[in-house]
């Protein structure tokens, strides 16, 4: 059978690869993923890319496709959610104490912890994670302190790398990214009410009615899939 092609935001890479591998073992079909920025994938789908399913990292680009009738209308739903966290490079000492991270409040002195370095975050201008971070910091009244001290990165992963390498003493990333890295330490979680809910919408692509794809689409909501997402640190809507 023809492979099922899934276009997915880069931050879903590990979870989806695991789910896809499991699905391939159970069914005689290949599942292939193209991981890239949601914006890029959305534009490609607009230009008739051979994708059966699109997993976006934000609503905006899914809306973009919906407006252009490129997705199967009623198939759209939210796959997983995520949380925004503040991370710092992991020192050797605190490798163990990564269990309970405090919630970030007005009192958290981000600027002080930053020292002379920069605050790594995804580019607020165009990357959803960055936009959420900006919203949260604004809500907490901290945006003006740090807005000249940020290092806007191409994506969350790049922001994480800056913290991992100690180039930035603080970074704002998804909880999932923080969980996957042993080289950063979560020092705070942003309250969910400080920013728009972080949800990853998923939809079937219009004009590619294929039974195999429909089945995998359903599989993404299966218990197994949900467990995989949960292990990686995603929240389940």
């Amino acid at each position: 059978a023809d492979p099922i092609t899934v276009f997915a935001a880069s931050s879903l890479t590990e979870s989806l690869e695991e789910i896809g591998a499991a699905y391939e073992r159970q069914n005689d079909v290949k599942v292939r993923f193209s991981f890239a920025a949601s914006s890029l994938l959305a534009r490609q789908i607009e230009q008739a890319a051979p994708a059966d399913i699109f997993c976006s990292a934000d609503q905006e680009w899914m809306d973009y496709l919906e407006q252009r009738d490129r997705i199967v209308k009623n198939s759209r739903r939210d796959l997983v959610g995520n949380r925004l966290v503040l991370v710092a490079p992991a020192g050797a000492a605190d490798a163990a104490s990564r269990a309970s991270a405090p919630t970030i409040t007005h009192a958290t002195d981000i600027a002080a912890r930053l020292g002379s370095s920069r605050l790594a975050l995804a580019d607020p201008v165009h990357v959803p994670a960055g936009r959420y971070a900006q919203d949260a910091l604004t809500r907490l009244g901290k945006w003006d302190e740090v807005k000249d001290r940020i290092a806007p990165s191409q994506n969350v992963r790049a922001a994480l790398a800056l913290v991992e390498q100690g180039q930035a003493m603080l970074g704002i990333v998804y909880a999932t990214d923080a969980a996957a890295s042993v080289r950063v330490r979560v020092i705070g979680v942003f309250p969910e009410n400080t920013h728009e809910r972080i949800l990853y919408p998923v939809a079937k692509i219009a004009g590619r009615n294929r039974a195999g794809a429909d089945r995998f689409f359903e599989y993404l909501s299966s218990d197994f899939a949900r467990r995989v997402f949960a292990v990686r640190g995603f929240t389940l809507p």
Binding site: T5, F7, S10, S11, T13, E14, R32, F33, S34, F35, A36, L40, L41, R43, Q44, Q47, A48, A49, P50, A51, R157, L160, A161, E164, D177, A180, S181, V182, R183
Partner: protein, 228 residues
Amino acid sequence: MLTDLEWSAIRLSMNVALRSVVLNLPLAMMVAWVLARRRFRGRALLDAFVHLPLVLPPVVVGYGLLLIFGSRGPIGSILAERLGIHLAFTPSGAALATAVMTFPLMVRTIRLSLEAVDPGLEEAARTLGAGRIDRFFSITLPLMAPGVLSGAILAFAAGLGEFGAVITFVSNIPGHTQTLPLAMYTALQSPGGEETAAKLAVVSFTLALIGLIASELVGRRVRARLGR
């Protein structure tokens, strides 16, 4: 050591780099010749146009290709309907994107060595009865061979590393359009993927090394022929 998908990325990268070089060579030589030898209005514009893929961020070039050669684009739709040729999201498309990106490198290098060809030798060929085309193939081309070779290997190396235009035009589908740089990028998306990325980087380096050694051997012969 390497997974199947990684092997396929290696094969695809080689394939894409080589095809783009072969695709580019004739056109690059023509354009280089026109830029080096003809004087006409708009020559500077053509020159700047040739350099455009270098000047624009690769993502923009890829997006432009998608708009033109995508199945909805003006050229892409014709190719798809009339000839059944699909470029967007196919390995051939990766070769096209790479070709477009490396075109300026090739034109520059070829043009440089074309301008270094002694016009006295072409004059001699004229007095021996060789017309323009004949002269080009029998005298000019062999004499600029070092530059053509140099341009080819430069384009090959750049082709191995081409990322932005490729991912934008053909997406990042493992086993289908995922070239080595795309695989490296994907590896880096997972925390802890640095090792895989480093491994692939070594592979890339090795491929380039092989290409360079091959070109060096050919180049040495060519130069020995020319007495340099």
